[in-house]
């Protein structure tokens, strides 16, 4: 714990050299105060039916958030993309004797908002309501009916299928969604993560009502569910609500784990011809997963490379110094059975070759050399200093609870993470990046009038002079 102030002092000295020595006058004072890192008091228990409950009591505002997180994402689509997504969309469209109109009015008469959504790993159902009993009790009772006995009306299936297909047609009008899907299918190929979550023009018409019912009965089971709650509730009220939700859901176990995705071992290129003014380029590979022992080193390193906004190498070199892009960023998205490393940017077509070549070079240099000590101190200070912002409000907290519960992380995960961030070294980061990424194996996926080319670079051919482009 005593290491931190010393580290921060060193970083300040580095920074003061680059800016004017006397400005900002408040920097010393701010650097000397260790940022608060409030501890979330997470209470957790299991319901009789095997749902895991995550609860944080917060009585500052008279409101309650409930979020159900299930392993019910598109990775369970089993070859028919769109089943998870349509199942999720039909929750709330009818339940037992209640019509969709009854449900909508039931929530909205009391100012409550209900929503459902689906991702690759997760199906998420959310409720936000005022916490006073006169509001909360009828709203939660309705929520239990809606999630516990959905009727999956054929009419709603047809309507939402049509809407989903209109959505897919609209995606064809713009470059971004097309290239994102191509990236996932290029990197993940036949792994379930390679399939488009919202379905395809071919798969959506094939989906039958019974498939949604079966999907619901299997994956919306209590044993496959995390119940996260934040708000103005006592522990006993929270226990009662969790017990009711859990009893309302189908009985059943957690879904089996998916096979781990494998990384590409050679470069794959994919280009979509599209008459856009910009070329969008995504670079990446399968790189991580939840539970990866390199997780913290990769996270901190990525903050330096391209995850830290204006303070990161990619933004500094590609946007600030050369004006090629409006935005460029990199990230590792860890999911249960895999997770890509991805760099993305878009640039005027005439700059595409230069921007691509530069970006590949910057990634390569970073993987080979790792960060400098000063870069690490900057990133460390940023991550530790921003911790308070990540749990500042109920919306933040419910998101953290859902993830901690879903991925079976320890209740003190956020504190553990911070401790790891304090300890990670430049060598740890360099080694983790070398283990994880090889620039020659990155998929290059693009969309635009022409496929961008990687330019032959004299320095790169000769090796040894890569530092010319490495920035600070």
């Amino acid at each position: 714990m005593m290491r931190l102030p010393a580290i921060m002092g060193a970083a300040v000295a580095v920074l003061m050299l680059s800016a004017c020595a006397s400005f900002p006058t408040t920097e010393k004072q701010v650097a000397a105060s260790e940022p608060q890192a409030p501890q979330l008091d997470i209470q957790s228990w299991q319901t009789d039916q095997g749902a895991k409950v995550m609860f944080v009591q917060s009585d500052a505002l008279p409101m309650l958030d409930i979020r159900l997180v299930m392993a019910a994402g598109s990775s369970q689509d089993d070859g028919l993309p769109g089943v998870a997504s349509l199942t999720s969309a039909l929750i709330g469209q009818g339940a037992e004797a209640l019509s969709v109109d009854d449900i909508a009015r039931g929530f909205e008469d009391r100012g409550a908002s209900f929503s459902s959504s689906s991702y690759r790993d997760m199906g998420i159902t959310s409720l936000r309501t005022l916490s006073a009993a006169e509001y909360r009790q009828p709203v939660v009772a309705l929520f239990n009916q809606v999630i516990g006995s959905p009727s999956f009306p054929e009419e709603a299936l047809d309507r939402l299928r049509t809407r989903a297909m209109q959505g897919l047609r609209m995606e064809q009008q713009v470059p971004g969604p097309q290239v994102s899907k191509a990236f996932m299918s290029t990197v993940f190929a036949d792994h379930p993560y390679g399939q488009p979550s919202e379905g395809t023009m071919e798969s959506l018409p094939k989906i039958q009502r019974q498939q949604l019912v079966d999907f619901y009965n299997t994956y919306y089971a209590a044993g496959n569910t995390v119940i996260a709650m934040v708000g103005d509730l006592s522990r006993s009220e929270a226990e009662e609500i969790a017990a009711q939700i859990s009893a309302a859901l189908p009985a059943g176990p957690a879904a089996p784990e998916l096979p781990r995705a494998e990384a590409l071992s050679e470069r794959k290129r994919e280009h979509i011809n599209f008459p856009s003014a910009q070329t969008h380029i995504l670079l990446g590979n399968q790189a991580t997963w939840r539970g990866n022992p390199d997780h913290v080193a990769l996270h901190v390193g990525n903050q330096i490379l391209g995850g830290g906004g204006f303070a990161s190498i990619l933004t500094d070199e590609v946007r600030q110094k050369r004006g090629y892009v409006y935005g460029i960023g990199s990230g590792f998205s860890a999911m249960a059975a895999g997770g890509p490393f991805q760099v993305q940017f878009k640039t005027a077509n005439e700059n595409a070759d230069e921007a691509l070549t530069l970006t590949l070079d910057l990634i390569d240099t970073f993987v080979e050399d790792g960060p400098s000590q000063a870069q690490l101190e900057q990133a460390r200070a940023n991550i530790l200093g921003s911790f308070a912002l990540s749990t500042a409000d109920n919306s933040d907290i419910i998101g953290q609870l859902g993830a901690i519960g879903f991925y079976d992380l320890p209740l003190d995960y956020l504190q553990w993470f911070n401790r790891q961030v304090r300890q990670v070294t430049v060598e740890d980061i360099r080694d983790a990046f070398r283990r994880t990424l090889d620039v020659d194996d990155l998929a290059i996926v693009s969309i635009g009038p022409e496929a961008p080319q990687v330019l032959e670079d004299q320095d790169n051919e000769n090796g040894g002079e890569k530092d010319a482009d490495s920035g600070e």
Binding site: A11, E108, Y135, R159, Q166, M170, F310, A311, G323, G385
Partner: protein, 442 residues
């Protein structure tokens, strides 16, 4: 049902009262307005500076200038090099950004609470001492042109919307895109940015908002230390821009590179600022809620689920604006349904509002939604800073939320009908049909 609603409304009133937080306001001698919202739930702070300067203040030949200046505010001052601002913010765990709107330009920094002094010193520095270097300006202009390509040029719906706004809000500064017309944007010069900064970026034209785990005793001395010495300057005039008298019915047919057609309708209506009868603002707010206040409102019930004409549709009233407000309807038809059919159905919806009173249940539901959302909005410190800054910049009461309860409660079904008849009329309407262009080549 009625009685239950009345009982619930009383409880709701007490809940929103419970969610109220202390707010402090004062003004420095140089004219800088300062607003402080105390919210001690978490050790975080948001610092925002709002300027009464936006796209509506641009001359027709300099569209996009307000936004380009916003970018230049990160590119260096007398004591900070290009990029140093954001690097300092990141170094101390903060995040920062800015946005330009028609009515204002605003900057924000979010941090753990002990970083407050740094945030204030940095904002004072760029309010007082911005430096616009020629080379940095031209390089950043390239970045903004990339931003325009991403947001607009490569998105046919955004391009269509930009063309639609030009006819929907004629003769006002709301008729051109915030990011600027492409050809004019490309011609902007550093000298224009400098003169924009000199004209609008003076303390008397700005509001500083500090929200979060702070007290007035902590904030005020710091504000005085960093901002008091900035010269007052002159606050530039800002005429209020209305579409009055009514512009007449306007229609636009656009063939664009879309696969799915779209319908846009916009009525020029009063805003809270421009309305002669302030009650019209609240009645239009209720009307918008009746049409599209949620899954149980009329557009979802009748057009999406009932007649199944549209895959998606929405109605909204933007009434918090410096100039006139807008009442907007947008729709994406289902396959096999024409834009004419959808337009007809939406006009029927408007006609129904003009001829038949909305039910008490509908009115109560809209009120419940608006008031509950006022409690929910308190969850975000940034959201609270946004609300204060926007209201102050538009010259509105910063306690507007409190009046909302009372004023919405007073709106009757007859009021809703009256504003529908008075404002949602053809002379105030612009309509655009966006259809797929003929395929040139595959």
């Amino acid at each position: 049902m009625r009685q239950l609603m009345v009982a619930l409304a009383a409880i709701l009133w007490s809940l929103t009262a419970r969610a109220e937080l202390p707010t402090h306001a004062f003004t420095l001698d140089n004219g800088l307005k300062v607003l402080i919202r105390e919210d001690h739930r978490a050790p975080v702070v948001t610092v925002m500076v709002w300027f009464k300067a936006g796209s509506i203040d641009e001359a027709p030949y300099e569209t996009g200038l307000a936004h380009v200046l916003e970018h230049m505010m990160f590119k260096g001052t007398e004591r900070l090099g290009p990029g140093d601002f954001s690097k300092l913010v990141a170094r101390y765990g903060g995040s920062d950004n800015a946005f330009t709107s028609y009515d204002y330009t605003a900057y924000f920094q979010q941090y753990e609470a002990s970083r407050l002094p740094l945030a204030l010193e940095l904002e004072a520095e760029r309010l007082g001492n911005l430096k616009i270097d020629d080379d940095e300006f031209y390089r950043e202009l390239q970045v903004v042109l990339e931003e325009r390509r991403t947001r607009t040029d490569d998105n046919p719906n955004a391009l269509a919307w930009e063309k639609f706004q030009a006819v929907a809000r004629p003769g006002t500064g709301y008729a051109h895109p915030i990011i600027g017309w492409r050809s004019l944007l490309a011609q902007l010069q550093p000298e224009q940015a400098r003169s924009w900064y000199d004209r609008f970026y003076v303390p008397g034209n700005a509001t500083l908002v500090v929200a979060g785990d702070v007290t007035r005793d902590q904030v005020e001395p710091l504000v005085r230390r960093f901002f008091s010495d900035l010269p007052a300057g002159t606050t530039p005039p800002r005429p209020i821009q209305t579409v009055n008298p009514a512009a007449g019915e306007r229609r636009l047919d656009l063939a664009m590179a879309v696969q799915v057609p779209a319908l846009y309708m916009l009525y020029n209506v009063p805003s809270l600022v421009t309305a002669e009868q302030k009650q019209d603002f609240y009645a239009l707010t209720m009307l918008a809620g009746v049409l599209d206040g949620g899954m149980s409102a009329r557009i979802e019930t009748d057009l999406v689920r009932g007649e199944k004409l549209v895959a998606g549709a929405g109605a909204g009233y933007s009434g918090i604006q410096r100039g006139d407000g807008t009442f907007t309807l947008t729709a994406t038809p289902n396959p096999g349904v024409t834009l004419e059919q959808v337009e007809q159905a939406l006009r029927e919806q408007i006609k129904t509002l003009q001829t038949t009173l909305p039910s008490e249940d509908e009115m109560a539901r809209v009120r419940a939604g608006v008031l509950a959302s006022q409690v929910f909005e308190k969850d975000s410190v940034m959201g609270q800073a946004m609300e204060l800054g926007m209201l102050s910049t538009l010259g509105l009461d910063i306690d507007l939320a409190k009046q909302f309860e009372e004023q919405l409660g007073k709106v009757t079904a007859e009021d809703v009908q009256r504003v529908a008849r008075q404002w949602l009329i053809p002379e105030r309407l612009a309509v655009a049909h966006v259809v797929p262009a003929q395929e040139e080549e595959q």
